[in-house]
Amino acid sequence: MKRFLIASVSAAALGLWAGAATAADQLTVVSWGGAYTMSQVKAYHEPYEAKKGIDILSENYNGGLAEIKAQVEAGNVTWDLVDMELADIVRGCDEGLLEELDLSVLPPAPDGTPAKEDFIAGTLHDCGVATILWSTVYAYDSSKITGEQPQTIADFFDTEKFPGKRGMRKTPKVNLEFALMADGVPAEEVYEVLSTPEGVDRAFAKLDTIKDDVVWWEAGAQPPQLLADGEVALTTAYNGRIFNAAASEGKPFEIVWDGQVWDLDLWGIPKGSPNKDAAMEFIKFSTDTQRLADQASFISYGPARQSSVPLIGKHFEAGVPMGPHMPTAPDNFKNAVQNDFEFWADYQDELNERFNAWLAN
């Protein structure tokens, strides 16, 4: 019996050791789940696994730096690569939670343009390489709203013209921008106005006008569901989620691009990742011109490289051309504002307190 015990314990130990030894053949890639992770798996993970013969473990999270901070501080980093928003990349980099990346190894465009010029300005960072531009927009169910259709961001706040509940994300971010634009502030002046106490008051006053009609959502998968259930008449949402519900599930959802607030998603490597080099290899592969263009046929987020734009094809199921559904398509981009990560890094705590106090009263 004793001998059996010793044998099984050492076998288990051996197994663990072997597991550790093969860990380099595995990469843990963390992203936001749902249709978005699916697009990454199809466009990046599967071809890379086939090419390199390694396993990519896909995990989901809900954004933010909490898990990365916990892993880095505990010295036990299990995430190799994380899909992050720009504000988190900047902050994570400042706080030493992310590895600095050597951007010179990124492959050039097919025509030889160096990566640094090929990537849209502002999409490369010391600690992050952008893959997509995504956007927060609002959408409605065209089978429910008959007659005049909503056109502008002001229509979202107009409950007389378009009665019914509104879906909004339960955070001050983006909602305050929408409120100001609906109140007549031009897109390029939004953050200037929001930086003053009067501007914040003005945004909250505008939100006040629809407060009783709002259903608050938190996860990106919720708004298409709220629309489909008829819980809300109009809802803010991530453009890719609405597009997928329309293209893949045939929902009669329409996006209103006026006043869209766009942002970036970037790859970041948590500081101290044991597979840092393998993760960088994966970044090089997944952010080349073809891969970024491929991803756009699975979800309607714009590629971060200019050279990818002409290569964007049709949706893999619905077969519709994806070009016109990109946030950056000229027709959609007329009145757009980029999410100002520095403003939010500065004021998100107090605005969040104010937002929650406003909600509870």
């Binding site: 809900n62 933010g64 730096l65 909490a66 901070k69 902050r91 980099c93 400042d94 706080e95 030493g96 509940k165 339960k170 709002v214 259903v215 608050w216 938190e218 259930d229 008829g230 819980e231 520095e342 890094a345 500065d346 004021y347 998100q348 705590d349 107090e350 605005l351 969040n352 307190e353 104010r354 929650n356 106090a357 406003w358 909600l359 509870a360």
Partner: protein, 426 residues
Amino acid sequence: MTDAAITGVVPPANEPLTTADGRPLKSALARAERMRRVKAMLLVLPLLLFIGVSFLFPIALMLFRSVDNPLVADHMPRTVAALEAWDDRSELPDEAVYAALVADLAEAREDRTIGRLATRLNYETGGLRSTITRTGRRAARLEPPFKEALIDLNEDWANPETFATIKRLGNRLTDVQYLAAVDRRYDVNDNIVAQPEVRQIYVSNFIQTLWMSIIVTVACLVLGYPVAYLLSILPLRYSNVLMILVLLPFWTSLLVRTTSWIVLLQTEGIINDVLVWIGILSDDGRIQLIFNAEGTVIAMTQILLPFMILPLYSVMKTIPPSYTRAAMSLGANRYYAFWRVYAPNTLPGVGAGCLLVFILAIGYYITPALVGGQDGMMISNFIAYHMQRSLNWGLAAALGTILLLGVLILYWVYNKLVGIERLKLG
């Protein structure tokens, strides 16, 4: 039994009692006792260690985090030292402070600690984050006089409040997190003042959390008491089926149960549909039953109900039915016999159930996060926010400590009123 029976020989009267191998009996006994105690200790040692490592240590760490404040003292030592002499808070500090500030920020940028420093200061005063990082970027290239150079760079450096904040955070131990957790802060002269009204959120939320937990506890008691009573008096074959009905939801995932409440209660959901169908509500007049405080209370009551029913049932099961029969045979009516004889006997179960439900409810997180919507948030949702989003773990720890203290006080009150030895879980 005689001494002779233990030792086997009759000792002389003046010698101490010994065992067979000649040792004094007293020490042999003590030794045997000690061995037993050591063995018992060894048996519980793993558990003690486990509790220490997984329970007491994290709580101690949390308490420490709520007052620990090393960042500014570690990374701005020169500025903190120079600010010692700054007393008149209506005036800006002198050039020496600005020079120290430039040196500190240049160094902090060099060793990449400036981000954490900026975040820490930003928790106190919104906007300081970009002031610090931008100044840090330029600090190495600034020329004296630094006072003008810095004020020229950013007007925050012309505000005495900025320096008051830095000076205050220069202490390694701080109470600012506790003040923030009760909607208070220090002003420029280090007086404690209330936060601006639009930002006051925590005190009202503590009260709301307490209030909602009380409602959930009372609702569980009112709903659970008859069920537990029925369970205890029904014949076994019926009570078994009923017991499974109580336990089945208990074994179902919390998320599944919460989500099914959304399906039931949402405005296009089953309850509203039925009410519209039978004509109680008009189609436009559907009521909001979920994503608010009412929805949270409904879902939490259902989820916590088994924690009330089970202790109640186990106590009721032990009350002999002859008690009530005896009371009635002595002239009490049903009502009187129930209230004066049966109900007091169930008190230990009521106490245990209420305590269990209340303590679980006051720290509840997932259900309010999913169905709390606009006004059904509880304090643990804010703790989670500061753990996960703002990364202000100090404030999260302070909020957690206040919650823990609240629970301990209530536990103490319970002990004074009911007595903890009367608690009965089964």
